[in-house]
């Protein structure tokens, strides 16, 4: 019974998601005019593409997003890795607790 | 021409995946996935040539270096002596 309920939920979520992405998004491959609203060709990505080589001096624009425009995210990412490492080391720390 | 070769590679991948799905034992599947990985490496290289950008080839190089790690780990597990020795 529980399994049937879960299966139904999964199917419902899947149908909902597929319906959403196939109707509400612009067609695949139409990047610069993605925004709701009037300013087409003015999306964030397009402006970054135009300005990044001069502003950051990196040939790889993804890099200039990763450590330039969104560098703080990447700091968070490094912290996530640190957290996971500390967690794993904590779980497998030496046996024999002092009680 | 490159794209047609890619389609043939894709068909070969499909056939390999058939063995990966059927294979009665673990080594069978590992062999099939190994062949698939190598075929995908050549597909990556051909795509890099098709897009005319030599820097794309780094991706294929990564797989050329690291593809055998997983196989090695599985082989060590199947030998039954533990991974760490």
């Amino acid at each position: 019974m529980q399994r049937a309920l879960a299966l139904g939920m999964v199917v419902a979520i899947g149908v909902l998601l597929v319906f959403t992405v196939s109707t509400n998004l612009l067609p695949f491959g139409s990047f610069p005019s993605r925004q709701i609203g009037e300013n087409f060709d003015n999306s964030i990505g397009q402006q970054i593409l135009e300005n990044a080589p001069q502003q950051t001096g990196a040939a790889n624009v993804v890099t200039s997003v990763v450590w330039g425009y969104r560098g703080y995210d990447t700091l968070g990412e490094a912290t996530v890795l640190f957290t996971a490492v500390v967690g794993v080391v904590m779980i497998f720390r030496a046996f024999g607790r002092r009680e | 021409m490159i794209l047609e070769v890619l389609i043939i590679i894709f068909c070969a991948c499909l056939i390999c995946a058939l063995r990966a799905a059927l294979g009665p034992t673990a080594p069978d599947r590992v062999v099939a996935i190994d062949a698939l990985v190598v075929l995908m490496i050549s597909a990556l290289v051909l795509l890099g040539v098709y897009y005319r950008a030599p820097i794309y080839l780094d991706v294929a190089l990564v797989y050329a270096f690291l593809a055998f790690l997983g196989t090695l780990a599985i082989a060590k597990y199947l030998e039954g002596r533990g991974i760490e020795t």
């Binding site: 990196a58 890099t63 700091l75 490094a78 640190f82 497998f92 | 820097i55 060590k76």
Partner: protein
Amino acid sequence: MAGMTVIVRTIARLLFPFTFLFGAYIVLHGHLTPGGGFPGGVIIAASVVMLLLAYGIERAQKRMGLLQAEVLESIGGVAIVVLGLFGLLLGAFFLQNVFPLGDLGQLFSAGNLPLLYLGVGIKVTAGIILIFYAMLFAFREEKE
């Protein structure tokens, strides 16, 4: 005899420096070609894992021990924060790019981005190796 057969050991021995070099290449060219700190660090860590699989954990630990990895990870994290603080001290904001930008496409370009990638590379290398060591050391004393 620990580890795999002589074939695996020889090839791992041969491949280790080149994999390490390739990882360093990926890290240092992150601002010019695809790649960056994380994949490069993972590749360097994978080169150590390769030795680990071929020779066993004791010999891999001679290359990089547990304590070294822990300290290196801290150093990587501190390096990133300190580089960010440079931007705060010399410029106006945290993580601001205050170093000279250089010419587009050269190795010495893009200000502090390659340095940040270097910090991430060190951190990721140490972190992944530490995860592997921790998981492999677990419950060893139970077995013996």
